[in-house]
């Protein structure tokens, strides 16, 4: 039986977003470095970054009152009162 606080999942999510952010930046830098940041590339980049911002805003709005410090039981084979991992 493993008990972890729920904010661990938030930290994992933040870490994933950080890695994705690095890849987004590399993509944008490629466009800037090769001199191909034209109107179309700028428009597509703006659309993609706008969509990402909307997703993050939506996620923030949907998670208002979560007890992030609440402990969660993982791998609890004795009872069914866990996430069932």
């Amino acid at each position: 039986m493993v008990i972890v606080p729920f904010y661990l999942f938030l930290a994992l999510y933040a870490g994933f977003l950080f890695v994705c952010g690095i890849f987004f930046a590399i993509n944008l830098l490629h466009l800037v470095h090769t001199g191909t940041l034209t109107t179309i590339a700028l428009l597509v980049s703006a659309l993609i970054f706008g969509a990402v911002a909307l997703i993050l805003l939506g996620t923030w709005q949907l998670l208002p009152d979560i007890g992030w410090s609440e402990p969660i039981t993982l791998f609890n084979f004795d009872s069914g009162n866990s996430l069932g991992f």
Binding site: F6, F9, L10, Y13, F16, L17, C20, F23, F24, I26, N27, H30, L31, V32, H33, T34, G35, T36, I40, A41, V44, S45, I48, A51, V52, I55, L56, G58, T59, L62, L63, D65, I66, G67, E70, I72, L83
Partner: protein, 196 residues
């Protein structure tokens, strides 16, 4: 950085045409991204219908939102990476040379260039229903230089492009010594032996 800096454009050089792959060939990536973006919503609807109590717990609900949000961001990253790879695949035709920038993956790029006067043969190839409908196809350029063959896939109007390259080649040959290019120059060209 400007494109001219990236290709080290010479003072007398003029960019005649920038050629990217046909936009039609990007549609499969758009469709795939649309399917990926739809997956979390479809799964959520299915799970809510099949297991109505699953998202009653705020913890499970929050976890589903985090996973779904991460998946959507990853789907957009997939789309953006494919767009950048597509957009950076570039054929640059100047009045002096031809540069083929091939963005294979995000971290793999190859740049090949050849002088126009070394081009021996240009062939275009349009095959398939979509290619014929939307007028795109492959362009193969045979040269006498170190990189012998250039294959540029899915370019729009390959026949027009072939004519443009051949015309520019003819023009460029006038500025170079025909003795070096052709051991048997075409009639009308004066053979100038190479300088000692």
């Amino acid at each position: 950085m400007h494109l001219a800096e990236f290709i080290h454009q010479k003072s007398y050089e003029k960019i005649e045409k920038l050629v990217r792959r046909s936009a039609i060939t990007f549609i499969p990536y758009l469709l795939l991204a649309a399917v990926l973006i739809a997956i979390p919503f479809v799964l959520y609807t299915f799970a809510e219908t099949l297991f109505p109590n699953l998202f009653m717990s705020p913890i499970t609900n929050a976890l589903a939102i985090l996973v779904g949000s991460g998946f959507l961001v990853a789907a957009l990253l997939f789309l953006y990476t494919n767009f950048v790879t597509f957009y950076l695949d570039l054929l640059i035709i100047t009045n002096d040379r031809l540069l083929d920038i091939e963005q294979k993956t995000l971290f793999a790029r190859s740049v090949s260039e050849t002088d126009l006067f070394t081009i021996q043969d240009v062939s275009s190839d349009v095959t398939g229903i979509f290619a014929s409908l939307f007028n795109y196809g492959n362009l193969t350029i045979q040269t006498a230089a170190a990189t012998e063959k250039f294959l540029i896939p899915n370019v729009p109007d390959p026949n027009g492009l072939r004519h443009l390259i051949l015309d520019l080649c003819e023009e460029d040959r006038k500025h170079h010594n025909p003795y070096i290019i052709n051991p048997r120059p075409v009639s009308g060209h004066q053979i100038v032996p190479p300088a000692a």
